[in-house]
């Protein structure tokens, strides 16, 4: 288990000191990628067939490949279930890759878009949008959401680095908690004043219920492009994760890599929050799990995180629908129930090192 607690650092315990090679497991990674993709497809099938009205697998197959708009089950599948399941998968991949990049770039084991204020920032700007431009097209909402994520991150990192002694993981988490509290309070005030609390409430808790094809269409190029870009810069991220000095020594232009990485993180977190709301902890758990499974090479970590992240959110959404049917439990709450113990474990580890 000790490997989990040593993120972004070469794991010396499993390698003899004579070999400076980093611990990677390409085989495990390939297995995760293929196994993960297969279970993702199976999971989509299962997830689509379960719900308030159970639908047989054969009907799901029919609906996807021989769509007939006169049949109600076909319509349920194509209009309600499939988009939300795909949306959940996409959001999971976004949060997980954003988390992996943040942890790699800042060498901070407790980095997560929820903990560091990105989600709250995006949420705040979205609350503003709902209040002042009701009915704003999703295309613009998502752009504002990027902006909000940037504002949240800027506040947290700015205040964190103002402190004497510079940025430490713990200080960032504390600043993130306070900034999130502030932005959440402001959004709540806005929601109450403009009476949009009902619209925002479920969205705050996090849920993929309302996802439709149009949103997916707008989101896909952003998320797809960002994940692709993340994979392209993954080599540089691995070097950065060894430490700024090492990366510079190896001829990296670290400023450039950090800039590109930050833009990617903002796009991923922003678009994910625009679709599901403030779901935290995905970006915390998944990269740690992935690093434990496949080693420290970000060329493997990023794609594997994407796959595992989408699996997590998809199954959390499935569970959210099954806990108390026909009501839905917010996905964010369910993920938090897994995420909190994990965070406690990390906090304990981190505290020990200080």
């Amino acid at each position: 288990m000790s490997a989990i607690a040593q993120p972004a650092k070469p794991d010396e315990s499993t390698e003899s000191s004579s070999s400076p090679k980093l611990r990677t497991r390409p085989l495990a990674a390939t297995l995760i990628l293929f196994g993960g993709l297969i279970s993702l497809i199976l999971g989509i099938g299962v997830s689509v067939s379960f719900g308030a009205a159970d639908i047989a697998f054969s009907t799901v197959w029919e609906a996807v490949f021989h769509f007939n708009e006169d049949l109600t089950p076909h319509n349920i599948i194509m209009e309600l279930r499939l988009p939300r399941v795909l949306g959940g998968a996409m959001v999971g991949a976004s949060f997980a890759v954003a988390g992996a990049l943040m942890q790699g770039m800042t060498r901070n084991p407790m980095a997560d878009s929820g903990l560091l204020g990105l989600n709250a920032g995006a949420g705040f700007v979205l609350a503003l949008c709902f209040a002042f431009y009701p009915g704003l097209p999703f295309m613009y909402l998502i752009l504002y959401s990027f902006l909000g994520a940037g504002v949240g991150a800027g506040l947290v990192f700015g205040i964190g680095s103002l402190a004497r002694g510079g940025l430490t993981p713990v200080r960032l988490v504390l600043a993130g908690a306070a900034v999130s509290a502030l932005l959440a309070a402001l959004s709540e005030g806005i929601a109450l004043h403009f009476r949009i609390g009902q619209d925002l409430a479920f969205w705050y808790a996090g849920g993929v219920a309302g996802t439709n094809w149009k949103q997916l269409g707008i989101m896909l190029p952003w998320v797809g492009g960002a994940i692709l870009a993340a994979i392209i810069i993954s080599r540089s991220i691995t070097l950065l994760s060894l430490g700024e000095d090492v990366a510079v020594g190896l001829g990296q232009r670290t400023k450039w890599v950090k800039l590109v990485g930050t833009v990617i993180i903002l796009i991923l977190a922003g678009s994910a929050v625009a679709v599901v709301g403030a779901v935290g902890f995905v970006g915390l758990i998944i990269p740690h799990l992935t690093r434990y499974l496949v080693g420290v090479d970000y060329r493997w970590i990023i794609p594997c995180s994407a796959v595992l992240g989408s699996l997590l959110v998809m199954f959390a959404d499935l569970a959210a629908r099954m806990v108390h049917p026909p009501y839905e439990t917010p996905v964010g709450a369910l993920v938090a129930l897994i995420g909190v113990p994990f965070f406690l474990y990390l906090a304990r580890k981190e505290g020990r090192e200080m």
């Binding site: 504390l174 402001l186 005030g189 109450l192 004043h193 609390g197 806990v323 938090a336 129930l337 020990r352």
Partner: protein, 343 residues
């Protein structure tokens, strides 16, 4: 030498008393402003006339049944939360401790919510039961955080206490979200405003339910001020001075939990008061608890009564829950403290 020390000591005490009187005067002024503001405006003259029993029936109704209990409650919970924060900061020797940040408020909230979702909220029985339940929830959460943050041989490090607190608060609020969705719409509305920290118990019954806790616990804590002074020196020094460290700490912790729990039962999730109150007080009167504790109580009361007044007036006719106003003031202050803290 000794004489000189005694005179500076006396001068400091005098200064502390002056500061407390000033804050008390500010509370009185805010009190009067708060009595006048609201959906229906009353002139100061009307107010005084009503207070001495010469107002119209409507004016009496507004003042005595709606505004006065609410203001009294905000003063009480402000004092309770601030003193609770002051104790927590003292015994954990952690400048960032606050019952809200540490998740104690969330624990109390969870119990209140569980009760509200199964029983009616307005009966007399539940008015007195709620503080007890909130206390139970706060106590359990405090015990949980204490156990999780405790490490053998090292005791409790300030930072791990806060990290564990943040995580526990996040976990509890996730559980609460899961639970709220099962409620019917009426109760959902109640719980939602409660969570945002609005002073919902605008009723003399709640004043009665809260008052015994504050009246018993505050003097007890003030009486323990000397023990707190010793505890803040650190465990080793305190033991060396002959203080029963563990026993004192446990008693004070219980008092802090009691104050936070009973306040939260009436006020809902108001955070940051326990952080700001003691900090302001420390800046004004210094670290001696004989003066720090009462000044914290006054500063907390002033903060909550002011926040409540602001919340009622800024965006009329919408009432912004007090908790939101306090968070908007408190979070930047927390960040400021964080930026100033040494690594």
């Amino acid at each position: 030498m000794n004489v000189q020390l005694a005179t500076t000591e006396r001068r400091k005490t005098k200064r502390g008393v002056t500061i407390m009187l000033i804050i008390a005067a500010m509370i009185m002024i805010t009190f009067i402003i708060s009595m006048n503001t609201g959906y229906i405006r009353l002139t100061p003259l009307d107010m005084i006339r009503t207070l001495i029993g010469m107002g119209t029936h409507n004016q009496e109704l507004i003042l005595f049944q709606f505004r006065l209990p609410r203001i009294v409650i905000s003063v009480l919970i402000g004092a309770g939360l601030a003193v609770s924060g002051c104790i927590l900061q003292g015994i954990s020797r952690n400048a960032l401790a606050d019952p809200g940040i540490l998740g104690i408020n969330a624990g109390a909230g969870l119990m209140v919510m569980l009760y509200v979702s199964y029983f009616p909220t307005t009966s007399m029985r539940s008015v007195f039961l709620l503080p007890l339940l909130a206390l139970l929830g706060a106590g359990l959460t405090a015990a949980l955080i204490y156990t999780l943050a405790y490490r053998r041989h090292k005791g409790i490090s300030p930072i791990s206490l806060i990290l564990v607190g943040i995580a526990v608060a996040a976990g509890i609020s996730a559980v609460m979200i899961v639970l709220t969705l099962r409620l019917d719409p009426d109760k959902y509305q109640f719980v939602a405003t409660w969570l945002a920290g609005s002073i919902w118990g605008t009723n003399w019954k709640f004043v009665l339910a809260l008052l015994p806790w504050i009246v018993v616990l505050l003097p007890f804590v003030f009486y323990k001020a000397r023990a707190m002074n010793v505890l803040t020196l650190g465990d080793q020094l305190a033991t060396g001075l002959g203080a029963p460290v563990e026993k004192e700490r446990l008693m004070l912790l219980a008092a802090a939990v009691g104050l936070a729990g009973s306040s939260v039962a009436v006020s809902g999730g108001i955070g940051f008061v326990g952080l700001i109150g003691p900090h302001l007080a420390r800046r004004l009167v210094g670290p001696k608890h004989q003066q720090l504790l009462p000044t914290s109580a006054l500063a907390g009361a002033l903060l909550v009564i002011a926040a409540d007044t602001i919340g009622r007036t800024v965006l009329q006719p919408t009432e912004i829950p007090t908790g939101i106003v306090v968070a908007v003031i408190g979070a930047p202050y927390f960040l400021y403290l964080l930026a100033r803290a040494k690594a």
